[in-house]
């Protein structure tokens, strides 16, 4: 007769053995010939442009890689007014900033840079940035 305690010990011994084998197998898989499918992030190779011999020198359009702002009240105002002079990458690039800094930044856009933002919209933009882009609140 095998006691219940012994049964349990055999079960655990087997289990540990199986685990060691499994991890060993995974490890072996990672050692050689390990590939994974991924987004290449490929870049299109431009064709040589047809150039004329006149005095005009030009380049293609500058591409936009515009990030998304976090959804929330005030996002529309930020999109409408901030976007006049710069894309939201100017917001998303920043580290999480204290609420007072965001207020100072938006005030600077109006006072120093001359952005024409109605008072109501300006308050909503500040509130929006304070709600989503501070050290306490920023997630994305």
């Amino acid at each position: 007769m095998i006691g219940a305690g012994k049964k349990r010990r055999i079960f655990f011994a087997l289990l540990i053995g199986v685990c060691v084998l499994a991890v060993g197998a995974i490890y072996a898989d990672l050692q050689i010939g390990y590939y994974t499918s991924a987004n290449l992030g490929s870049v299109v190779q431009p064709a040589p442009p047809r150039l004329q011999t006149n005095g005009v020198y030009s380049v293609a359009a500058y591409p936009l890689y515009t990030p998304q702002l976090v959804p929330g009240v005030g996002r529309q105002d930020a999109a409408a007014y901030c976007n006049t002079c710069h894309t939201p990458s100017y917001i998303t690039m920043q580290p999480p900033l204290p609420a007072a800094t965001w207020k100072a930044e938006v005030d600077k856009m109006g006072k120093a840079f001359g952005a024409q933002i109605p008072t109501g919209a300006q308050a909503r933009i500040i509130k929006y940035l304070e709600t989503h882009y501070t050290p306490e609140t920023r997630k994305h």
Partner: protein, 440 residues
């Protein structure tokens, strides 16, 4: 990580069995399975660096990475560069390009303040105007610049005032550059003084103002409409400045200021006006936003202060000027393990806005003290000076490599950062952690 391993296993013919096995284990014994999954996670951390993405932003602490964390993006005439912002365009040069003293045009960093920058320049109507407080206003063609003046060539580092701003603690708002908002090119053009002399600067002139084709969507008269910079006429840097039409023996890329830009050796890039079209002699100091309050630094040693002192109005601010001495470790970059006992060449670059780099010292923090590195070719007082140090780590472990430069004026890089509200003048000693593994 786990999801990653699972998808990997699905690609293998025998993967399904193993996955079932793992599931069985997971059901059979929670605790044991957890510990083994933890093991799998540790393994996954040794996977190629490309498998794991950088975060999309850093903070509130300092950015711990060499470059900023943006994605790589391609722009006209450019290799893939690190994207900070897409409109206006700001692109950072990836670390590996700094192994050479000359930064290729296609990798040279890009920084514009305003969004309306040229995609096209018609040289048949383009003119460089020298005007304002002068005896004879000039309107020079591109070919005047090429043929009516003696060409001069100079290698010089162009560094954004806010380079390494993301190192600041506490962080400050602004372009969150890593270390790659810098580059060194061979600039060919015309002595700036020669142009000023040709126009005849009237007595009573105090500053020379530069403006290019950069425009913004803001109201006229506001800094969001145009970008202008000025230098004192008494500043000796004007004698060394050139109006460059060639960069590394090629036309300037549009994003770096085609057809000409001002080169102000030793000075931060804010004065190196791109797509230069107007040079104005002023009879009173320029007080436009881009001169005051923008691009100002505390008039204190190293330009460092505190936000409390700024708020209390205790700090006098002056226009930013010369670049403090800096040096960088470019390779190894910490992404690859080095076997103990293998000799490796630690390589990097250095420069100073105050003149030649006289000495670069290396430390691995284990054998105490700084050891002098071998300097690369001397391309002139304002160029990058590469350096290298033969290093053989003798034992496995984590090593903190450090580099420090001293310029010919005796300025030495300090081991403390700076803080100022603009996020300027960073030149703390750079460190790189590397992992040395068992050789056998």
């Amino acid at each position: 990580m786990l999801a990653h391993n699972e998808s990997h296993m699905e690609n293998k013919s025998n993967a399904y069995t193993r996955r079932s096995l793992l599931k069985t284990i997971a059901v059979g014994s929670g605790t044991l399975a957890l510990s083994h999954f933890a093991g799998a996670t540790a393994l996954a951390q040794q996977l190629p660096a490309a498998a794991k993405r950088l975060p999309s932003f850093t903070g509130p602490g300092p950015n711990p990475y060499w470059n900023s964390v943006g994605p790589m993006a391609t722009y006209p005439q450019k290799a893939p560069l690190v994207l900070l912002t897409d409109r206006p365009v700001q692109l950072e040069t990836p670390r590996n390009y700094f192994l050479n003293a000359i930064t290729p045009n296609e990798a040279f960093f890009v920084r514009w303040h305003l969004e309306s920058i040229p995609n096209e320049v018609d040289l048949s109507s383009w003119r460089l105007r020298i005007e304002g407080n002068v005896n004879k206003p000039l309107a020079l063609t591109f070919s005047d610049l090429l043929h009516k003046f003696k060409p001069v060539t100079l290698a010089a580092v162009n560094q954004c005032s806010g380079n390494s701003r993301s190192r600041f603690g506490p962080r400050v708002a602004g372009g969150q550059w890593g270390n790659g908002a810098m580059g060194c090119a061979r600039w060919t053009g015309v002595h700036f003084r020669e142009l000023l002399d040709m126009a005849g600067v009237k007595s009573g002139s105090v500053q020379v103002q530069m403006q290019g084709l950069e425009r913004g969507k803001g109201p006229k008269g506001m800094p969001s409409y145009e970008f202008k910079k000025s230098l004192d006429l008494s500043n000796p840097v004007l004698d060394e400045s050139i109006v460059a039409y060639s960069m590394n023996g090629e036309p300037l890329p549009m994003l770096n200021g085609f057809p000409i830009r001002l080169i102000v050796p030793g000075y931060f890039a804010t004065y190196w006006v791109k797509c230069l079209t107007e040079v104005r002699l002023l009879d009173k100091p320029d007080e436009n936003f881009w001169m005051n309050p923008a691009y100002r630094v505390p008039d204190t040693p190293r330009g460092t202060t505190t936000s409390a002192d700024v708020a209390a109005g205790k700090v006098r601010m002056i226009p930013i000027n010369r670049m403090p001495v800096r040096s960088f470790i470019i390779s190894p970059d910490g992404a690859t393990k080095i076997p103990a006992g293998l000799p490796v060449t630690v390589r990097g670059t250095s420069f100073s806005g105050y003149g030649r780099v006289a000495k670069v010292e290396f430390s691995d923090a284990t054998r105490g003290g700084w050891r002098e590195a071998k300097l690369g070719e001397d391309l002139g007082p304002y160029a990058f000076r590469t350096w290298e140090y033969p290093w053989t780590p003798d034992r496995p472990g984590k090593y903190s490599l450090a580099v420090r430069a001293t310029d010919e004026k005796g300025n030495v890089q300090p081991d403390e950062g700076v803080w100022n509200p603009g996020g300027y003048l960073w030149n703390k000693i750079e460190r790189q952690e590397v992992t040395v593994g068992e050789p056998a």
